[in-house]
């Protein structure tokens, strides 16, 4: 086992453990904390894939903003006060569907011949990403910023409610 593999398992195991915690925890706040664990470990996976920029973005946006928003929503909707029946009656079917998806996707991935080298990580620098993002992908980038602005304005309007409420 090379040291890269050891690092991979050191970050992959918390990712999966956190994900299992998110979907099975009986306490919703624990669920959110498991989500933070999982998201930060995914940032580690990104670093391992030599995508440092995305790892930083991941920690800032997911580790910071998204989990805080989720925790706020939990407090405001009082999911915590109704711990009874967090899962619906369809739970066994959900497990079946998820298991079937996992088997099919892992099987099809193992039986696919990927073109090119499949055991060497090519380092892509932040300069390259920035160059491409603002030349080849400039229009989608601007559209994404517009989408973000409209969505957040919509969120404010929705959450604020009508006048005099």
């Amino acid at each position: 086992m090379t040291y890269e593999e050891v690092i991979f398992y050191v970050v992959a195991v918390p990712t999966v453990v956190g994900a299992i915690g998110v979907v099975t925890a009986r306490n919703v706040v624990h669920s959110a904390l498991f989500l933070i664990l999982s998201l930060l470990s995914v940032a580690g996976i990104f670093i391992l894939l030599s995508a440092e920029f995305l790892a930083i973005v991941q920690v800032l946006i997911y580790g910071g903003a998204v989990t805080i928003l989720v925790l706020f929503a939990m407090m405001l909707t009082r999911v915590r006060d109704m711990p009874a029946a967090l899962d619906g009656p369809q739970r066994p079917f959900a497990a079946l569907a998820a298991g079937a998806f996992m088997v099919v996707s892992i099987f099809s991935m193992e039986s696919t011949e990927w073109p090119g080298e499949t055991d060497k990580i090519n380092v892509i620098s932040i300069e390259q990403i920035g160059n491409d993002l603002f030349t080849t992908w400039a229009v989608p980038f601007e559209v994404a910023s517009l989408v973000l602005m409209v969505a957040l304005l919509g969120a404010i309007v929705l959450a604020r409610g009508e006048e005099g409420e």
Partner: protein
């Protein structure tokens, strides 16, 4: 070195757990968290394909940037909708919001 399949297996597991969460949970907030897990799995896949298979174009990396952007917008909007639902129905459970169910 780590073969690409390790990353793909990890992302399959994450995505399956996300599917399980979306289907099994009742609260909209918990479903949203499971959707986040699925988005993470997709991002891992995109980046793995970019750095292993097409390092010249690395479109997958750019796509992962967009995935994170859209995920941020989606979370903000979804939580506003959930708050609205809670204010109107006094619950955030998706199976109790059944006004349009015949």
């Amino acid at each position: 070195m780590i073969p690409i399949n390790d990353f793909l297996v990890l992302s399959s597991i994450l995505f399956s757990l996300g599917i399980y969460g979306v289907l099994a949970r009742r609260s909209a907030v918990l479903i949203l968290m499971s959707v986040e897990l699925m988005l993470q799995a997709v991002s891992i896949n995109f980046i793995a394909f970019a750095v292993y298979l097409s390092p010249q174009a690395f479109t997958g990396l750019i796509f992962a940037v967009f995935v994170i952007t859209i995920a941020a917008a989606e979370v903000g909007l979804a939580l506003a909708i959930i708050l609205r639902l809670y204010r109107n129905k006094a619950t955030a459970n998706v199976d109790e919001a059944d006004t349009m169910k015949w």
